[in-house]
């Protein structure tokens, strides 16, 4: 059995380490060692579930996830991680079940597999996001609708393009040391056919030898191409990008072995990364920073 060490800090930057470990394990049985985990954001959580699913598929049974009871596990429980991980991992720790009560989390890890799941996400976010967006991020009151539209469109990306189930989660954080501001993090992950798989039949010919995960991401992210002939398709991603740019945010799409991103001045992620470890499906990460007073 191979032990896969979960990075101490698991977020949109370190998730590649986890994917690389999963990719390099081949068909070996694996154990996910998260005992040193000290920090995890929505990207870390939805993609840890995704990595567990990949390992489960390969080895034919849920892989073991070792994690200690403590502050991080408590936070993961509030984010709905253990509920989402049920059946995916053989869990070393299960948090005590608590009665249903309104959580302080913006959006717990939520499986997305149907149209009605997207409606539920939008309903929930409409109820909870207003205070965070206006009080914490200092966005205008109208931002809650635009934020809901972003979530709706990224979730639809799972249903329409991945044709496989996925997960979404969102939460706000104080990035005092990293950015000196609060941020809101949205993470979406699925285990579908990825952008290359979705677009190959319709669009690979025009790219010739250049066709691959990177060019497929360019086609969808930059040019708004989809596998559908209808010209109304593909607007969602373009409009999300515009809105995230207006809020000086970061948006990245990872699929297969590549990642493409719109990168604001406060981050150093490259706009295109190729040669990453192969991982199924696609992963979307959005980071929205609080508005600074002179932007108001």
């Amino acid at each position: 059995m191979r032990m896969l060490t979960v990075p101490r800090s698991l977020d949109y930057k370190s998730i590649d380490q986890l994917f690389e470990a999963v990719a390099s394990s081949g068909d070996e049985k694996v154990l996910f060692d998260a005992r040193d985990l000290r920090w995890i954001d929505p990207n870390g959580m939805v993609n840890l579930v995704a990595a567990g699913c990949v390992a489960r598929e390969r080895q034919g049974e849920p892989p073991r996830l070792e994690i200690h009871e403590g502050e991080v596990a408590g936070y993961m429980a509030r984010m709905g991680f253990f509920r989402a991980a049920e059946g995916v991992f053989d869990l070393s720790y299960r948090p005590p079940r608590r009665g249903e009560r309104e959580s302080d989390v913006l959006l717990e890890i939520t499986p997305i597999s149907s149209n009605s799941d997207v409606h539920e996400v939008v309903d929930r976010v409409q109820r909870r996001a207003g205070a965070i967006l206006s009080n914490t991020l200092h966005y205008p009151a109208s931002a809650v609708v635009q934020f809901s539209v972003i979530l709706s469109e990224v979730c639809q990306n799972i249903i329409e393009h991945a044709e496989a189930p996925g997960w979404v989660a969102a939460q706000s954080y104080n990035w005092e040391r990293r950015l000196g501001r609060h941020v809101l993090v949205i993470a979406v992950s699925d285990l579908g056919r990825g952008f290359r798989g979705s677009l190959t039949d319709e669009h690979s010919a025009r790219f010739g030898d250049r066709w691959g995960d990177g060019t497929a991401l360019e086609a969808a992210f930059i040019h708004g191409l989809t596998r559908f002939p209808d010209s109304g398709r593909g607007q969602g991603i373009q409009q999300i990008r515009k809105q995230v740019r207006r809020w000086d945010g970061l948006i990245s799409f990872r699929s297969g072995t590549a990642r493409i991103a719109d990168v604001p001045s406060w981050d150093e992620l490259p706009p295109m990364t190729e040669g990453l470890a192969e991982f199924p499906g696609s992963q979307i990460s959005i980071v929205l920073p609080a508005r600074v007073p002179d932007e108001a």
């Binding site: 149209n115 809901s148 539209v149 639809q156 409009q239």
Partner: protein, 198 residues
């Protein structure tokens, strides 16, 4: 407006259509399947009307309208009724359009090179979508005049290109021209006349 309008007024509350045709618990116009279901319900309703329908699509109870849904319930709805094989004859005015609706509506109309008449929550009418400067100007003159009789046309719109722009607005169904050529009416005026029971 001196002639009786041969139009059938139809008021469609989008929020109501959403809850009766898709799911009673849904309160937002999001996702393409939802938009498609709402559009098909509107098409069915309008297909039953024998006369030309003047359809008032009311968004005032809709909070969230995403791009996929706007593509179906605005752009594709208009496309269906501009196509040669349209399910019926209809004009559309989108009412109760708030700031949050405007952006998705503008984007989907521009993407399909369509035009539409919208009315905001204060009842102010506007031509939105992809229009030339001349079309926007002529639409504004018609809106300000409410109606232009055939005999007034040369004085109100003296330039041939203005009259051609007006003809195009009628073809695009963002202005109403009476078939025997008696004159042209802003859709806001048509709505008002129909409300008065003309």
């Amino acid at each position: 407006m001196k002639r009786k309008l041969d139009l059938h007024p139809v008021s469609i509350d989008l929020s109501g259509v959403l809850q009766t045709t898709v799911a009673s618990l849904y309160s937002h116009l999001v996702t393409r399947p939802t938009g498609r279901a709402v559009r098909v319900a509107i098409e069915s309703q309008l297909a039953e009307i024998e006369r030309t329908a003047m359809s008032l699509i009311d968004l005032s109870e809709v909070t969230v309208l995403d791009f996929s849904c706007a593509d179906e319930v605005v752009a594709k709805l208009l496309q269906r009724f501009l196509a040669e094989d349209r399910p019926g004859e209809a004009f559309f005015v989108f009412m109760g359009v708030g700031e949050d609706h405007r952006h998705p509506i503008d984007e989907v109309l521009d993407r399909h090179a369509l035009q539409a008449v919208v009315s905001d929550r204060d009842g102010i009418f506007e031509l939105v979508g992809r229009s030339s400067q001349l079309q926007t100007e002529v639409w504004g003159i018609l809106e300000a005049n409410r109606s232009i009789a055939k005999v007034e046309l040369d004085s109100v719109l003296p330039r041939p290109e203005q009259q051609e722009a007006l003809a195009q607005l009628v073809r695009n169904r963002v202005a109403y021209g009476i078939e025997d050529g008696a004159g042209f009416h802003a859709l806001s005026t048509v709505m008002e006349e129909l409300r008065r029971g003309n």
